[in-house]
Symmetry: none
Subunit: 455 residues, 2 copies
């Protein structure tokens, strides 16, 4: 492995240049105007993979394409399926970016660009690891499959059907996902659990047109006001979610998990300082890490209605709406939670408004076995590259495909994310730490090496 | 008066032609591009008033000019100040007009044009009444002053300073305002009360940047969620405003007012059908007309925060905001109510968010004495012209200048509006009913006659 690691270090400048090339493509999956950019990013990946000798193709779906590749020349060795996504989040509010989101800018030991950490930087570490291993040795210690999707940021609507339709082709011994981060720079970690997601939209309609608030205000139900009341009623005073049945299927934390979380170097004061807030606010009876990793939530992601311009307009708005999402924990089911939420909102809607309930994407929560040999191989790989044994943690976000891989392919899913907590995923000034990026390539190579030893 | 009324009827065609001439001038006060049209409308009025022998001048303000005129030849008789405004609302959406807004078009017994009812048609009835009285008799039964402003549709920013600076010049026994309408065509009415306004904006800030709702949701206060809770807490379950002290200065409805409102032909089913709502929602213990005319309200005019685009974005927003306004009734004070609202919102804001409170414009409520001799003279004038005794009503909107006249000049304000509820003020296809216009001139003449008898 010395030769491989040396080569990885020697090629650092090229890895960076390649990363920047991919980051320059504005592959925002939720905007139809960026469809050509999505195709461009897929083609960029296809070309790179083919240059490496990975048999690759772009496979269309009803949405954005999947880039799929295979390198199956390690007979008798395990097969690893590497998953990543080449699409990125939207960039608004654009004015809050210090440098343009699609002009990668290196400063403070990091590269700043949309998608740098989520997930272009992280999917490339595996491509570069394979590339340098092949260059150094001419062969890989495992069989590799790459599955790179373009719809992760819009809920992967076409990925499950794709997996269902390609079970034989995707057959493997483990799936590797690098789309998360370390507990902190000083505390490398392996993630064994993630929350699921249920994302909906609620639209309220009051009168058939905007009204003059003086002529009509006081007698006619205002949909913005109704919406605020309905949303406020979705939590009680202790920040428990007030939806009948919401907690019924929640798997309670085990004592050893609570103890493990409590042993982590989590500094609440520092956390608040970073966010510039004077207090945290979460479900009563749980620590912040428990709230974030092992408790379900209900969050308003957006709200709108009426006049939001300069100055004053005395309007009684005809419509209002909100985006609402729940983070779910095992064994909650996104469809069941959407049903419960819809029922609750319909119960709360006053008679003077009509309600439309739209379901966006959802995803099931994920929980892995920490002592699975491939998960352990991931742990050893991180230890080799970062010189510290990773701690086992859970995460608050959602990578719904992890649960799909476990269920449909019946294999373990190894989460070897090398991002950092301050990477500002989905926010202005997203960045990828360059030390994490380069060591991540080493860890990815170590993982292939360690996984190759598993019988 | 027979000669006067006959003359008014004989000159109907000319009154209409003159009205159309003024309506052709696009005097939109909020658009700097229409400044020459504003000047043109002022000059048109000046010329007309001078032709009548009214000593008139155009008086510049920091905004649009005031047209001021005097005819003070009825020694010993009362002095009436007639207020009106020659500016009009913008016309968008233009595509919804059946005929162009500044090409007056007569159909269905009405003239359709922007400003026809609000307020050019209504200010001209007083000019034409004076003109025909002078033509028929050579003299007027009262002393007349005209105060015609060009900034009513932009909140009259320069009118109060103008009145303050010209108290002696504007001295009078009563102010006449025709800028409102009848309860219905069949139910002539006199307005004796209007609501005031207190308009504010509240901005909440949570974390210092938008966060990933998975990585942070559950532990960090969400400002949108906080805002919905705060707004929801501003009303109780019976739609009373939950702000300590809010109702302290509210003058309760008198029994005779409740009885008068209850006697009006108000059809709640028809009202709901027009708005396409299945229920009304207002403060418990009051009828819809009481809620609209005599009870204060708190209304959310707009709300925003987080993601409002297509599809889903899993963001925990850093900021949220809302425009909130209260309609006020005597003797509530806009500044005091803003203080109470600010205090209440600060009390409700959870510790994880910071609050900014912005005050927009306000206006005091207006209430006249229904048995004031000049108000009664207005009532008799309407009865003579429309052959029906007008009912006494209040209005839900705000015409802040009415309160200014009462307070600064210390005189009663007579609201003799002859518009109709379906005049579509501020909307496409604004119109002035021609029967109301011509009879309005007769009513204006009768008012001068009746007011002249007041000692």
């Amino acid at each position: 492995m010395n030769t491989v690691i040396e080569r990885i270090r020697g090629e650092a400048a090229r890895h960076r240049a390649d990363l920047n090339e991919l980051l320059r493509i504005p592959s925002i999956s939720n905007n139809p105007a960026n469809k050509p950019d999505m195709d461009k990013a897929a083609l960029w990946l296809l070309t790179r993979m083919q240059e490496l000798g990975i048999k690759s193709e772009i496979i269309p779906t009803p949405g954005h394409s999947v880039v799929y590749g295979e390198h199956l020349e390690a007979e008798g060795a395990p097969t690893i399926l590497i998953y990543g996504h080449y699409d990125v989040q939207p960039v608004d509010p654009l004015e809050l970016w210090d440098t343009p989101p699609f002009e990668p800018h290196e400063r403070e030991g990091a590269v700043f660009a949309r998608g740098s950490s989520d997930d272009k930087g992280q999917l490339l570490i595996h491509l570069f690891a394979a590339q340098e291993m092949l260059a150094a040795r001419g062969r890989l210690p495992v069989n590799l499959k790459f599955l790179l999707e373009g719809e992760e940021e819009v809920g992967s609507p076409n990925l499950k059907p794709f997996i269902d339709a390609n079970i034989d082709r995707l057959a493997c011994d483990a799936v590797m996902v690098s789309d998360t981060g370390f507990f902190s720079r000083e505390v490398p970690s392996m993630l064994y659990g993630l929350r699921g997601l249920c994302y909906v939209e609620v639209l309220l309609r009051g009168p058939n047109h905007d009204l003059h608030s003086g002529e009509f205000g006081g007698a006619v139900a205002n949909p913005v006001d109704a919406l605020t009341r309905m949303i406020a009623a979705l939590h009680d005073g202790e920040r428990h979610v007030s939806i009948p049945g919401f907690y019924d299927k929640v798997r309670e934390l085990q004592d050893r998990e609570r103890e493990a979380f409590a042993g982590l170097p989590y500094d609440e004061a520092e956390y608040m300082k970073d966010l510039e807030v004077e207090a945290l606010e979460g479900e009563k009876g749980f620590t912040a890490l428990e709230q974030l990793w092992a408790r379900p939530t209900l969050e308003v992601n957006g709200i709108w209605g009426g006049y939001a311009g300069e100055g004053a307009k005395t309007v009684l708005p005809a419509e209002a709406g909100a985006k609402i999402s729940c983070r779910l924990v095992p064994d909650q089911d996104p469809d069941e939670i959407a049903d419960l939420l819809e029922k609750r909102l319909r119960d709360l809607a006053p008679p003077g408004v009509s309600l439309k309930f739209v379901r966006h994407h959802g995803g099931k929560p994920f929980l892995a076995e920490p002592d699975d040999p491939f998960v352990e191989a991931g742990g050893r790989a991180i230890e080799k590259a970062f010189s510290k044994r990773p701690v086992l943690v859970r995460g608050g976000g959602s990578v719904p495909v992890t649960e799909t891989f476990q269920t449909v392919l019946g294999v373990p899913c190894v989460m070897m994310g090398v991002g950092l907590p301050d990477d500002r995923l989905h926010s202005p000034n997203e960045k990828m730490d360059l030390d994490q990026f380069h060591k991540g390539i080493e860890a990815a190579a170590w993982f292939l090496e360690e996984a190759g030893k598993i019988k």
